[in-house]
Symmetry: C2
Subunit: 365 residues, 2 copies
DNA sequence: TTGTAAGCGTTATCAC
DNA sequence: GTGATAACGCTTACAA
């Protein structure tokens, strides 16, 4: 017997508030609250003991076929739903994995989450997603809430609280950090090689004969952003192209920053034939700004993005970009965590981005 | 004392699987499992009874300031995290709201969820998100899981299991359905007027002198899609424009369907000067296809979308579209649900889309 | 104001 | 195989 369903939960823990007392008193269909059916009711209906019911439900030891059948029958007849709270309380194991996400609207994080779900599916463990919304305090609160839920392990996707604080919060809880690179050895991280990605993107431009390649960077202290920038620098260096400070513009991963970057670039007057945007959203903004200035893409200026989000393929022209193995990262993270929980050592294969060639890059004029 | 954090949980309920026994035995830092600190420990440390601890933690009745202080001190010193399971088990109330979402990658659903979170924040209730992934069985499983978690109420966003089945699953549980319109009176629905939205979009085109307006519809049996189409029809009718079957193309809300629709339209040979796409993704696809055929937007063909997702403002040209009050829908849903739980009648103000004028529409040639 | 004790619905440990 | 019965950690009458 196997019942599947995906359950996401967002929790706000608030102590000291008990303002909803009338809850179970006035249900929709009047005051006649339908009492939940419990394992006890099943036991009575099947004329066996609670223990036996538990045994057949969990398949934890052999029971007589007849009784088994009786229990199953009663279960479905009464529409019994085991109480998850009681279950975890008694067993000590919550069979639940805490996942910290950052709601950023970016399909990237969605994809990572999906990977986690996929990796956990069929293992008996259930992910519980907590949202840090890219805010330090919310993030700490979210992790606390996760711990309060007695998760058996955690997957932290992104976020930016410092490693030491993380160590404090998580304690001995098995934890895997995704899409973020922490210095300390004690943290288990799964991340893509962003330097390589930046290199791939820039090099593609160079191969198309571009020399004056502008870069719109991501958030300044964001490791992903600095790594991609390093990749850009490396590619330039290898090709013997002098890096030009005038072509290095700061951004923050938003489309707006892409627009502003182009404006800045244009008003500075330093000519450029290509742009490497720190992510697709930035690329979208850049492309729009170029359009508004009457500059053709890719004929006059080529663009490369980073992420390969769904909309990238439908930009005009379709955006050449670096595809992040988001789903796979999530998958790997969950498998690694499971191993960790089981007492095995942490292991992960390095992940690589792939250049997704489309039509936003043309040969330099 | 107030502690906040957003917690999302995805759960796969699997009966009969108990294959992870070694969990708590082998924690990361060796076999010396750090026992969770309980309310009992706090009681001992603060030299009071469990009840008193509970009282100060929940602010449920007055306690002596000294003891109070002692409890609080012990709580933070020992890093006590109340066990959520035990709490709900004992109180009967889970203080938790089940939210059924459909992972569709669409920012629209994200926004609705955010609205729910916002509406619940500060009420003491916590949303628990279950994912239906637009699949009937997963949806049923998800709702079951929610019920198993003993949620105090449910918000169902989208989904497509029939109303009667819904009634069965939810039983007497207070429930609000968002972004979906159910016929039966017994369901409480919060939705936008899609007919009006479709009308607004089409009428905008008509006001710009367009007569030959193509429409790329959404999923055929999707109420949102048919309503938008009805709005289109209505606007045409009012303007005395004959509806032309050759300009009505089926789609499925994806960018790909937008591309195909344009191809179909073009090969059919029936001229058109404007396109109303069932949603923004479809509009993106249409815009790309037009670009690839060398047809200029908006000079030769105008486009209107529906949703106003983040990328819409950065399409080239920026997409004129109907903004859905997604966040507000989520907010209203949660407030309405809270009222329902409290025994008050269901109430909701009708919601309206807004025309977001940008640059993808031009005067008809 | 405080403590004692009886649950809440399961699982787990025993004897039988 | 099966059934009592003791946890699990917390809330909540009920007494004191």
């Amino acid at each position: 017997m196997r019942e599947t369903g995906f359950l996401w939960s967002a929790t706000v823990f608030i102590h000291g508030i008990r303002d909803a007392r009338s809850v179970s008193d006035h249900l929709q269909r009047g005051p006649e609250t339908m009492k939940d059916v419990t394992i006890q009711d099943i036991a009575a209906a099947a004329k066996v003991s609670k223990s036996t019911v538990s045994r057949v439900l969990n398949d934890t030891s052999a029971v007589h076929p007849d009784k088994r059948r009786a229990v199953l029958e009663a279960t479905s007849r009464l529409g019994f739903q085991p109480n998850a709270f009681a279950r975890s309380l008694a067993s000590g194991r919550s069979m639940t994995i805490g996942v910290l996400t950052q709601i950023i609207g970016s399909p990237f994080y969605d994809a990572v989450s999906q990977g986690v779900i996929a990796g956990l599916s069929g293992t008996g463990y259930s992910p519980i997603f907590a949202d840090g919304r890219w805010q330090r305090t919310a993030e700490v609160g979210a992790i606390r809430a996760l711990v309060g839920r007695r998760v058996d392990g955690m997957v932290l996707i992104g976020g930016d609280i410092p490693g030491t604080e993380l160590a404090n919060l998580c304690g001995t809880l098995p934890t895997v950090v995704v899409a973020r690179q922490l210095a300390s050895e004690q943290h288990h991280c799964i991340f893509m090689d962003n330097v390589e990605g930046g290199y791939l993107a820039t090099n593609h431009l160079i191969e198309f004969g571009h020399q004056d390649i502008a870069i719109i960077r991501g958030i300044a202290d964001h490791r992903d952003a600095t790594d991609r920038f390093d990749g850009y620098t490396k590619a330039l260096h290898e090709a013997g192209i002098q890096r030009n400070p005038a072509l290095i513009i700061d951004g923050d991963f938003t489309a707006d920053s892409g627009v502003h970057a182009i404006d800045t670039l244009l008003s500075a007057g330093r000519p450029f034939t290509a742009v490497f945007a720190a992510n697709d959203m930035t690329a979208f903004g850049a492309r729009l700004a170029l359009h508004q200035q009457g500059i053709r893409v890719p004929e006059e200026v080529s663009i490369v993005g980073f992420d390969d989000q769904a909309e990238a393929a439908f930009m005009t022209p379709p955006l050449t970009t670096i595809r992040q193995p988001a789903r796979e990262m999530g998958w790997q993270a969950s498998r690694a965590l499971l191993a960790l929980i089981d007492g095995q050592p942490f292991e992960s294969r390095p992940l690589h981005g792939e250049l997704q060639v489309r039509e936003s890059v043309a040969r330099a004029a």
